[in-house]
């Protein structure tokens, strides 16, 4: 299958946090604000001159400094982000907005503040307290939190954070997501026109650069993909689990002859391309949207919902099985093995669990595991065929 030249553009954006588009935007006087999680509202961080950059640490291979601050027994994503920040890889950012998604990332935020921000008044460092359950009483609290963040952005950067501007940002995000969704849907075809690693590369790039600068390249990519022939594979898989922002991992999985058609992991697109309601109070819309659409295991009461959604994704993307990957020391996803994954396994869905580190490592072992998993799926399919 031929490589599409349009993809090279996105690939380049992933090499460093300060990629060419971010650089260009900063030179134009725009304000890059780093964020860490799906629940940190991108739309709010995209008002006026501001634009969101999701935290990654592509150049970090070891984490000596961060390990001093956070010990070796915390997840390597939290440490890598801190390491990258301490290594001045995030010098270009002018704000950092965290969602209090887990204690480890909270501590990354705290350490960043303690080590890097010594009373810098022009820097917004904010931690959004996203509730862990959908409960009416917590919506006003989250709304108040978002308003406080908007107020801070207004006073610190001089942005006009009016409802009108936020609504405009929400509309633009929705339009952008529509375009992304069209490309994403190529994965649903019987012969997908985009591989999992390619899609992951595109989607990750879209989270790390100003969106308005990505619209044209995305349109070009879409046109190119339309003309492309589809892929055939030994098996179609869904990857589910902890944070993964490195397309090399997906490429490694696909190197064993399968296709990753669904990405249900942190930094993945499921969920990630839904439409935020544009009518009504913008803050309430944002609060409700992120509470309701959240499929992260940090939400205490949504185990059944997560299992149901995962099953829907399997059906929608015609996936044959699940690769369940967890970062070492990731508690929320670690427990999912006994919760959501157990529900799925009990339903007869083929699953395999892989533990990994944030930076690419253990390739040989992972290849073997994936290969064996694909064979087991093929055997199962064959047995079923024979039985019929």
């Amino acid at each position: 299958m031929e490589k599409i030249k349009e993809l090279a553009f996105f690939e380049k954006l992933l090499n460093t946090p300060q990629n060419s588009l971010v650089d260009k935007a900063v030179k134009e006087g725009r304000i890059p604000i780093a964020y860490n999680c799906y629940t940190a509202p991108e739309a709010l961080l995209s008002v006026g001159k501001a634009f969101p950059v999701r935290l990654r640490a592509p150049q970090t291979t070891s984490t000596e400094l961060a390990t001093f601050y956070m010990s070796p027994f915390t997840c390597s994503y939290s440490r890598s982000i801190l390491e990258a920040a301490l290594d001045d890889q995030y010098e270009f950012i002018q704000g950092m907005v965290f969602a209090a998604c887990c204690v480890q990332i909270q501590r990354t935020a705290h350490n960043y503040k303690l080590q890097k921000l010594k009373g810098d008044e022009k820097f917004v460092h904010y931690l959004i307290d996203v509730p862990r359950k959908e409960f009416d009483a917590y919506v006003p609290a989250l709304v108040a939190d978002l308003k406080k963040l908007a107020g801070l952005m207004e006073t610190t950067y001089g942005l006009d954070m009016s409802e009108e501007n936020i609504r405009k940002a929400i509309h633009e995000q929705n339009e952008f997501n529509k375009l992304l969704k069209e490309i994403s849907d190529f994965r649903k075809l019987d012969k997908p026109k985009i591989t999992g690693s390619e899609w992951h590369m595109v989607y990750t790039a879209c989270k790390t650069a100003p969106k308005d600068m990505l619209v044209e390249p995305l349109k070009k990519l879409k046109t190119a993909l339309e003309k492309r022939e589809g892929f055939e594979a030994k098996a179609r898989l869904m990857v589910m689990g902890s944070i993964c922002d490195n397309p090399a991992y997906i490429e490694l999985i696909e190197s064993q002859g399968c296709l990753v058609v669904a990405d249900r992991f942190c930094y993945g697109s499921l969920p990630g391309m839904e439409m935020i309601p544009e009518e009504g109070d913008v803050f309430t819309n944002l609060a409700l949207f992120y509470l309701e659409s959240n499929e992260c295991p940090r939400m205490m009461e949504k185990m059944e919902f997560r299992a149901e959604r995962a099953e829907n994704y399997l059906e929608e993307y015609k996936a044959d099985g699940i690769i369940f990957e967890t970062l070492k020391f990731c508690d929320v996803w670690g427990y999912e093995k006994l919760k959501t994954l157990k529900i799925l396994e009990d339903k007869g869905i083929p699953c395999v669990r892989i533990e990994r580190e944030y930076a690419l490592s253990g390739e040989g072992q992972m290849k073997t595991r994936v290969q064996a998993f694909i064979e087991s799926i093929q055997n199962k399919q064959l047995t079923e065929k024979l039985a019929k």
């Binding site: 503040k113 006003p140 295991p297 070492k328 427990y335």
Partner: protein, 568 residues
């Protein structure tokens, strides 16, 4: 019985000649002991040390008496006996009597039986179904270990708290086995005052593993292994992972009414309760303690969450909230808070009267695990009286107290006599600790809303909410505050290897300590698994710190290294 004797016995059963030979030997031995020569030698040995030595040598040389003689008179046996008598000795006759009295009381509490025959049968059956209940008998041993080397008022304070807690645990067991319809299953760190006001009992789901480990360091390990065998990563915090292990092993009593839990202390904690809920299949309510609980909006939301919990309990159990009763419970809680503040204040003096577990244990039991108990008030009043007496007499609970320390992070549950070891080996007195310390607020009892607001504030300020989850300012701010208040010689920072939250601030703590010239003893350990870091492993880290950083001399060098890997 030695292996040789066992072998001979086994052979004797098969072989009559060996049997006869053994009988002959026993008879000969008995005749020897009864002989007038032996009696005379014994009498002589009592008066004359040289004769005693000769007799011991003679007994050791005789193959018949050698095994017993060696066990009684060898230098190792003598040293062990000395150590044992030292361990049991409480200094003077009064202390010895106090110790014996409370020891008996503790047994009485543990052996408590329900009155009716039917209930007795139910409890017996429960012991068969839930084997961990037998481990509760080790409470007496736990008491002995806690009070090892302790004398005076400190001895009384320790025993009182332990016996009270034993009674509270037995009450919980009675609740869940004898009155399950009116009992809810609950996680700790949830406002227990609410159950009491609703006339509901509760059974703490953590009891079979997290509490019982204090009695025996190995008794719960099967539960950790159980959950790991089901696929949970073994590096997950074992505070959280044990309870699902108990459930998966089928060892958690299920009252079948409701389960109340929360998002505390961390992701692992609340995730584990999803497994409990699924396996037991009971209606569950989860409280969501906000991260930013200092903001009014968040706290107001939490109060509404508590109202939600009350509505849920009313619906699932049929019990109604009695606000007058809650008022009484809150008043009791306020009284306890007042006493607690005085205890903390006394510890700021030169001779702190309530150090180590005397401070930590009652707080853990009656503030965090089972807050709002009416009988906790007389206990705390007793402790207050004793504390005041010690304060007036300038009697420090650690004798002699060489070092004042602040304990940061939870203490090691698998090493119950860690406190008393620190006292005896190094003279360390922990004057305040993280699990105990937190702002104590007075609950306004004028209206239901104000009571719940007060309770919300109290539980948001609880240790695992305030320190291990909230902003870093809570953590670092409290360390600085306590250092200023208590003037410690060092900070003992116990780093539980599964606690991502506290590990995440290790470096910040080190830097703060350097800036403030405060020695910090960082001890890596696993809070509930001594297979990860053994008790001696913990002691080694403290010993190294005391010798190399504090340049201290141990009070009792025999306590630096000893084998207790298989001890309770």
């Amino acid at each position: 019985m030695s292996d040789i004797t066992k072998g001979m016995l086994a052979q004797a059963i098969l072989n009559d000649s060996i049997k006869n030979m053994m009988m002959e030997q026993t008879k000969a031995g008995m005749a020897k002991f009864k002989s007038p020569e032996f009696k005379a030698a014994c009498m002589k040995a009592v008066a004359d040390p040289a004769a005693r030595e000769a007799l011991i040598k003679q007994l050791m040389a005789d193959p018949l008496t050698a095994p017993v003689a060696f066990k009684l008179f060898s230098p190792e046996a003598q040293a062990a006996m000395k150590a044992q008598s030292k361990k049991k000795s409480k200094g003077n006759a009064k202390d010895q009597w106090v110790d014996f009295k409370y020891w008996l009381k503790c047994w009485k509490t543990c052996m408590h039986q329900p009155e009716s025959k039917e209930d007795k049968a139910k409890m017996k059956q429960a012991q068969m179904d839930f084997p961990w209940m037998i481990d509760l008998m080790k409470t007496v041993s736990m008491g002995k270990r806690y009070t090892e080397g302790r004398t005076g008022i400190a001895l009384q304070m320790s025993w009182k708290a332990i016996i009270h807690q034993a009674a509270a645990t037995i009450e919980q067991l009675n609740n869940v086995f004898l009155d399950p319809e009116n009992t809810v299953l609950a996680q700790i760190m949830v406002p227990t005052q609410i159950y009491k006001a609703m006339d509901l009992h509760h059974f703490c789901a953590e009891t079979p593993a997290n509490i019982l480990i204090m009695m025996d360091q190995h008794c719960h390990e099967k539960y950790i292994d159980e959950v790991v065998n089901h696929g949970l990563p073994d590096d997950t915090c074992n505070y959280a992972s044990q309870t699902p292990g108990v459930v998966l092993a089928g060892h958690l009593p299920n009252p079948g009414t409701a389960l109340i839990c929360s998002n505390l202390p961390c992701e692992a904690g609340f995730s584990s309760y999803a497994i409990v809920e699924r396996e037991l299949g009971i209606p569950t309510y989860r409280l969501d303690v906000p991260y930013n609980f200092k903001t009014e909006e968040d706290r107001a939301a939490y109060v509404k969450d508590m109202f939600g919990m009350i509505a849920f309990l009313e619906e699932t159990t049929g019990h109604k909230m009695d606000w007058d009763k809650l008022r009484k419970v809150c008043e009791d809680t306020n009284k306890l808070g007042e006493i607690e503040l005085e205890r903390w204040e006394m510890n700021r003096s030169e001779n702190p009267p309530v150090c180590n577990d005397m401070l930590w244990f009652p707080h853990l039991c009656f503030f965090s695990m089972d807050a709002g108990r009416a009988d906790a008030v007389p206990l705390f009043e007793d402790l207050q009286k004793l504390g005041r007496r010690a304060y007036m007499k300038k009697e420090c609970s650690v004798k002699p107290m060489k070092y004042r320390a602040i304990l940061w992070n939870p203490p090691t549950f698998g090493y119950t006599y860690f406190w008393s070891w620190m006292e005896r080996c190094w003279g360390i007195g922990v004057v305040q600790d993280m699990e105990t310390y937190g702002p104590v607020n007075v609950i306004d009892t004028t209206s239901p809303e104000s009571m719940l607001e007060g309770l919300a504030l109290q539980w948001c300020n609880a240790a695992m909410s305030r320190h291990t989850r909230g902003p870093a300012e809570n953590w670092m701010g409290d360390v600085a505050k306590l250092t200023e208040m208590y003037r410690p010689d060092f900070i003992l920072n116990l780093n539980h290897m599964g606690c991502r939250s506290s590990l995440g601030l290790t470096g910040a703590m080190k830097e703060w300590a350097n800036e403030n010239d405060m020695p910090v003893c960082i001890v890596d350990y696993s809070m509930y698994d001594s297979r990860v870091v053994s008790r001696q492993g913990i002691r080694d880290q403290i010993n190294n710190f005391m010798m190399n950083i504090m340049h201290a001399e141990p009070l009792d060098p025999s306590l630096l290294v000893f084998d207790d890997d298989n001890a309770w």
